[in-house]
Subunit: 207 residues, 2 copies
């Protein structure tokens, strides 16, 4: 209780939880560059200008650190996803915009997709990690589902597929197209995501 917020006193000790942030930020960067499995605690600590001892002083171990980082990113990612399906008036414009933003996400967040898929691989062999990822992923799925349902109601569409299934397809396409982009960028046009989105949102013809 003796912590005074108004005094920027020249404290020698760096701060209690600021070290934690330093470690998390450094680990995030190194993970993005090298991958999770290929990064050691020493590298993380060195990138943060600290040593392994500091990491073990702030985290239970390697797994705890990884969990913390992915948890943080997953939350951040969910907030982003919920805002993607915006409140545009025109349907064409809305789908194009949403698709474009998702597509740009694929590009700029390429490292994120790499990290997520590696984490997914870890989760597939570790029940504890799996349940955590499943929880977050379910939240994300529900958020996207709600956004799709809302957008559909707004534009008076009756979708050819249930919103929750469309949400799954969007998530799957996001990861899947990121993979194909990674293999050969030229094979995945920028407009592809929104093109597909339009096809999936447009009601089926009478045949």
């Amino acid at each position: 209780m003796a912590a005074m917020a108004a005094s920027p006193s020249p404290r020698r000790r760096p701060a209690r939880a600021e070290t934690r942030r330093r470690i998390v930020d450094a680990a995030t960067e190194v993970f993005a560059r090298q991958g999770i499995a290929a990064t050691s605690l020493n590298e993380i600590a060195a990138a943060a200008g600290l040593t392994k001892g500091a990491v073990y002083s702030n985290f239970a171990g390697r797994d705890d650190l990884v969990l913390t980082i992915m948890e943080e990113h997953l939350v951040e990612r969910m907030h982003l996803a919920t805002t993607v399906f915006g409140d545009l008036a025109d349907l064409d414009e809305a789908t194009t915009e949403a698709g474009a933003r998702l597509a740009s996400g694929i590009d700029t967040d390429a490292t994120w997709h790499r990290l997520l898929l590696e984490y997914w691989g870890i989760a597939m062999r570790n029940p504890t990690v799996h349940s955590g990822l499943a929880r977050r992923r379910a939240q994300l799925r529900e958020a996207v589902t709600a956004a799709i349902a809302k957008a559909a109601a707004q534009h008076g569409l009756d979708l050819p597929l249930p919103p929750e299934q469309l949400a799954v397809v969007m998530l799957a396409l996001s990861n899947g197209l990121a993979v194909e982009r990674g293999v050969e960028a030229a094979a995945v046009p920028d407009t592809l995501f929104s093109d597909v989105l339009k096809l999936l949102v447009t009601p089926r013809p009478q045949r």
Copy 2:
């Protein structure tokens, strides 16, 4: 040149390249169970009933072994993919069938998808591996493209998207839905793949 094919003589030495097969098969199984990165040469050799020395006698090293296995699987996978878009007469039936087979592939070949995505992660940080994967992936993409184009011509469809882009979407969905299935199987209905395929294959309405 003295190799006699007609004599099943009781040779003590197990065979020349049979050992190689034993190693490949064992490695395939262990990789499927534990992942590539988490598997050591000792484990592979032990699973094959051999030792590390045998592996180094048949392969240049760990990377060479991994490459061999993935190459083998990628080829096998391509042959499978080219036959998926079959020669059914009815359009609905054809898309349903193709979607169902792709969907079942997602399920039964779950371990394959895990392996491929891990390998993709490796390729993303290793130019040599990347180029090899890109080569195979391009072949696969072309094969699927050709199959789609052929099926479209057969049914007199004019597709709402170019065949090569549809092929990319199919590949992306295959991986992406496999990921979502791994996270929560109940979120990905069996029919989802074929439902989406139908929507993507049906020509756009006049609006």
